[in-house]
Amino acid sequence: MKKNRSALAVLVLLMTTPFAAHAEVDFSKDILPILSNNCFQCHGPDAAQRAADLRLDLEEGAFSELPTGEFAIVKGKPDHSALMQRITEADPDLKMPPADSGKSLTEKDIALLRQWIEEGANWNEHWAYVPPQMPALPEPVAGWEQGNAIDLFIQARLKQEGLSPEKEADKATLIRRLTLDLTGLPPTIAEVDAFLVDTSDQAYERLVDRLLQSERYGEHMGRSWLDAARFADTHGLHLDNERSIWPYRDWVIKSFNQNMPFDQFTIEQLAGDLLPEPSLSQRVATGFNRCNVTTSEGGSIDEEYYVRYAVDRVETTATVWMGLTAGCAACHDHKFDPLSQKEFYQLFSYFFSLTERAMDGNALLPPPSVKVPTEIQIAEKARLTSESTAANQEVAVILENAEYADPFEGTEFPVYAKADVVWFDDELPAGAKPEGNTPWEFVESPDHPVFSGKNSTTRTGEGITQHFFTGATDGPTIGEGDVLYTYVFLDKENPPETIQLQFNDGSWDHRATWGADKCFGAGRDYEGNRRQGDLPELGKWVRLEVAAADVGLKPGAKLNGWAFTQFSGTVHWDQAGTIGAPQLTAEQKKSLAIWEHYQKTVGSSVPENIKKIIDVKVEERNEDQIAELRKYYIENVNPDIAAKLAEPRKKAAELKKGLEDLEKAIPATLVMEDRKEMRVAHILERGEYDKKGEPVESAVPAWLGSAPEDAPNNRLGLAQWLVSPTHPLTSRVTVNRYWQHYFGTGLVTTSEDFGVQGEQPSHPQLLDYLALTFIESGWDIKQFQKLIVMSSTYKQSSRVDQTKLAVDSQNRLLARGPRFRLDAEVIRDQVLQISGLLVGTIGGKSVKPYQPAGLWKPVGFGGSNTSTFRQDSGEALFRRSMYTFWKRTSPPPSMAIFDAPDRETCQVRRARTNTPLQALVLLNDVQFVEAARRFAEQVMTHGGDSIESRIAFVYRSVLAREPSAKELQIVGTLFNEHLAEFNESPEAATELLAIGESGRNEALESEELAAWTMIVHLVFNLSETVTKG
């Protein structure tokens, strides 16, 4: 299909909006939505569903001859158009759309279609798929305030609708609105005062510039971006364990604060790893597409999840940059937009070849990841490394100068007998985590049999029961020919049917079984269930021995766990360990010859190269071998030299440990990285991972413009394509989201869908003007924010005129200023800031402030490291809300109640509800009560001495304005009433003031402080407080 871009460009300019009555029918605005909503299901882009060979989403299809010989649409002749006949058909069997489709056309739809055909059935593409063109600026409306070009577009439209803008809001309202919008925090009294006294023309602009320089700006702008990026602190699926990707969050904040241009912001996040010699920061940026939910659920099939992750990345990328609902095309050609299933999988291919694993392993850092040291850590590492080198050098020097002569001259070597090495007796070994059907039970004699020490461990059970431990740190390392042993006592009265020992070296699949074959691995004879014989004699202690090799424990295996398992009955166990070689004495070790003999006869744990030398007869060794063996002995065995080395070695070890600890403390973050061998993507039938169709290569959908010529065909090229100045969507979608930030609703309401099914823009020319201005500025984000807030449209009063409300309840025409409820995070941050509790640290690991007890347990998987909520204390309680630890399967409730998204999927537009649960949060959440109390202290210390001045202090701090006389009177009366109540029951005051972990100012009288706390809390609960007005 050849696209007629220039014709459409003209049309876009002519296009009007939903509010305007107009003579001529506009295809893109009036007709395409009717066709899309009612006809595309069967006559749209999806080839598989197409009926009657009629395709109405393409001009060619709409006007071509049908197999019946009819024409769906005949230009200028509605009566000759089959489409008109069928939609007005009386016969229900013939009428379109069919009754069972659940769709029907209104009279108005039919009239519009008729008019459109009469007027020549002009055909154009959907507006959003044609690159924006710079519109001519409308003439200014005389007598109305205009701050910049935005107002020309808005006001021209208002005039057309017979509306007029509101006057500029008062300065107090403006500074609160602007400060909340640009920083997510309210202005302080001092800031308000400074603005009020600055009567110059530049006062407002200076305020804007100051706020754009605030580091709070980056946090606030970044927060919305993190909704889109589905950023969170856990993996999201199944165990929902913790994930470390907060350095990416900090990268977002920093990028906004440094005003990174949006094109670079895009490229680094989508493909920072593919840039030439990427910096650490550019790699961290790629965390954007590692924020998706992942699983490690046992039993999952890898291939299925590789597909799901890539699909999520395509959907997210398409939504955020293009407002394209690409996900629909994962299963079939898109029903409404021209995205074919093949094109979907071509996009999918860009994200299908990461080095990530399908199973995240429930790990903090499922690879690939990078370490992100702080400046301090980098310096510390350099220091430790240099000191460590020096310490190692000292060791080397000592060794170099060491002299050694073997004191042993005889030929009679000592005899080395193998002996029991007890691993545990009477108590569990170091580090062991005890578990079992019921806890470990230790019993003592004389009531119970005990073999050694003071106790034995016992169990009585039905069926398979056991007690065991894992995680022991001092377990034996298995040597060649080692044997494991323990002692068992089977109850005469209640013997078990089976007893089983299990050994864990990372796997439990090493079992020895006595008696009936009824324990783990039953029915199979293998290392995981090796039968040792019948049950031992009842009623006495019997020693059990198991050859390590018999149960698959290889030399070098290190045990960390041991299980005592039985099938029914009562069993006692005591002492366990290995039968292995004894150690050489220190005296014996002084002789290389004895040591060597010991290695030969007892079995050795020396490295392979040394073992080989020892195997060579002494007289047959060459010089190199002799030297190597001697060197090994001196460095590792000889006690005299070891004594000399002790100090420097200790120092070296400490430094090594210091380095290791530092390495561990250095945070890391998930990043993108492509495989060397790219996987081939296929079209997946119905989106199912195991129904592979035709293979495809990475490609961008050509109908949205081709990639820049020098762009590589990988994620980098994809990113470059998105930010190429001719891309019809990226800039429009982005400026629309910014618009939404300030006005609550985008120029296109459906900021996630710019497709045919999306809402039409309220001001199409303005949208194009903004999109092109943004690109021309070099994608300068701060400059763009300034453009919006400098407009008179933004600065209008938000008072709601009832006539305007009746005409335009959603304020799409902007005949008044923006006014809507603050976001969850802003509501909380606001009271923390006002109360002085806010800790301003930027970035770092997420924190766990107050949350009602017992929220994670009822949902968490036992083995998950986020199944128990452990609240932080101190400063962590008072960080900005964007740093609150986000567990996806149980998000922080006070945030979720105020419509914060769950962060499981990409979200570019938040809901704004108004519910009783929100009232409960504001009324009763400890965070708000504590903040009220802390602020009340300031009210008493800084708010003057009179009740009136203190109330004014509250209003000015919270709302930036003075209270009215009536408010003073109401609140003043209430204060006195509360004070009287607390005077009557001082214990109530004490209780109220004890809420929250931060200390209180004891110098202030309790009853009065409690009464002020109530007043502040009241003001925190005002509708005005939670609203940007």
Binding site: G102, L237, L239, D240, G298, G299, S300, D312, T325, C328, D337, G463, I464, K518, F520, A522, G523, T750, Q757, R799, V800, Q802, L805, R819, R821, P852, G854, P858, V859, F861, S864, T889, S890, P893, A896, I897, D899, D902, E904, A911, N914, T915, P916, Q918, A919, L920, N924, I970, L974, E977, E981, A988, E991, L992, I995, H1017, L1022, S1023, E1024, T1027
Partner: protein, 485 residues
Amino acid sequence: MNPLLREAELIETRRHFFGRAATGIGTAALASLANPELFADQPQTQLGAMGATHFAPKAKRVIYLFMSGAPSQLDMWDYKPKMLDWYDKDLPESVRNGQRITTMTSGQKRFPIAPSRFKFNQHGDHGAWVSEILPHTASVIDDLAVIKTVNTEAINHDPAITYIQTGSQLPGRPSTGAWLSYGLGSMNENLPSFVVLHSTVNGGFGGQALYARLWGSGFLSTRHQGVSLRSNGDPVLYLSNPKGISGKMRRKMLDNLAVLNQQRFDEIGDPEIQSRIAQYEMAYRMQTSVPELTDISDESRETLDLYGSDVTKPGTFAFNCLLARRLAERDVRFTQVFIRQWDQHGNLPNDIRRQCGIIDQPCAALIKDLKRRGMLEDTLVIWGGEFGRTIYCQGGLTMTNYGRDHHPRCYTKWMAGGGIKGGIVYGETDDFSYNVQENPAHIHDLNATILHTLGVDHERLTYRHQGRDFRLTDVHGNVLTDLLA
């Protein structure tokens, strides 16, 4: 009708209602806001996006008893006596037929048959087979429609439970309760329309994870998400006044708050302020209605006995079943009770006996209790998990002990009450309870049927999101008409 517009209109309607309530009659209205008694005279319900049901509903409300972890149909419902002859023999390849299985057992060299160790007996007029570990449930079998052929595609817990709850294996869609809240609205202004209850097992939690998305609202307004009614701490989050603030003080604060907000409204004219005033009143009413709800001291001894001895311990499954009945009495639309620890890969006989010991009596009690109060006819009760378990053994096998892996191809759930035919067994599985033999009931069919009993056409309860009309049953689902009374 475009559902998005419809929802917006409703919000407007509600605003107008609150707007009238407070501005039309000036100060008198303020008095009504300040006085909950007066306010309580106002209409108590909110219409949903559908306005009216698509056809006459049989059920007004739903109680969904969710067995998380997937209980074994083979040991509870799907009686396969022939399997005794198959003990420790391999599952024939012709039965498995190359179907995918989880990677927990796909590496197993053998798939030995593990017959159920439990006895089954016939119960009810239709002689339905029920395992000996469900004696109480067996006593109400004539009220149950036992569906033996429920099936799903998901083979792991997270995707499977997300699938049955939201119609999609991936996060992001609204849950069943949220859909109903959105479509049908609320019948009780003092309580949420969708309530979630979590049950303890032996005093603790544990088992397969649950996720907020299972009662989430997805792309619907967050107003529709399920509200957890908790057994410790505040039953509804943030319900209690802070320490030191008496009910009297709170009332006074709210009165003044309403006055101040009203003043602001008079100046600014934003209807959202009116709405917020009303929400605070609703919050205040919840502070009374929720404790009343969870306080079971007004239940008779006989009723408590019906549910068993655990019923007096908050958080137990028995307590939650009683609470579910109390919620149903208060016309809460959708109550979902979760109990976990059904994921029995090993040691199944012992563990399932324990689980049945916990749920059997309360399940039966709930049916009996609803029935004698005349509420069973318009309350739909659903029981079951996210998938079933395999006939072949996972791990060691003896006649009395075995484990079972996940099985998605057929498993058993039951439904009772509101619009459902009692005393029937629907569908048949093969001798191995491996494949459906007749009358499959895909989980989309089940969800379509649930909506149907509530007067909702599952194809017409839609919400436009990202340009597409979404529904609970995606593009699938057929009402299982044989189940309908």
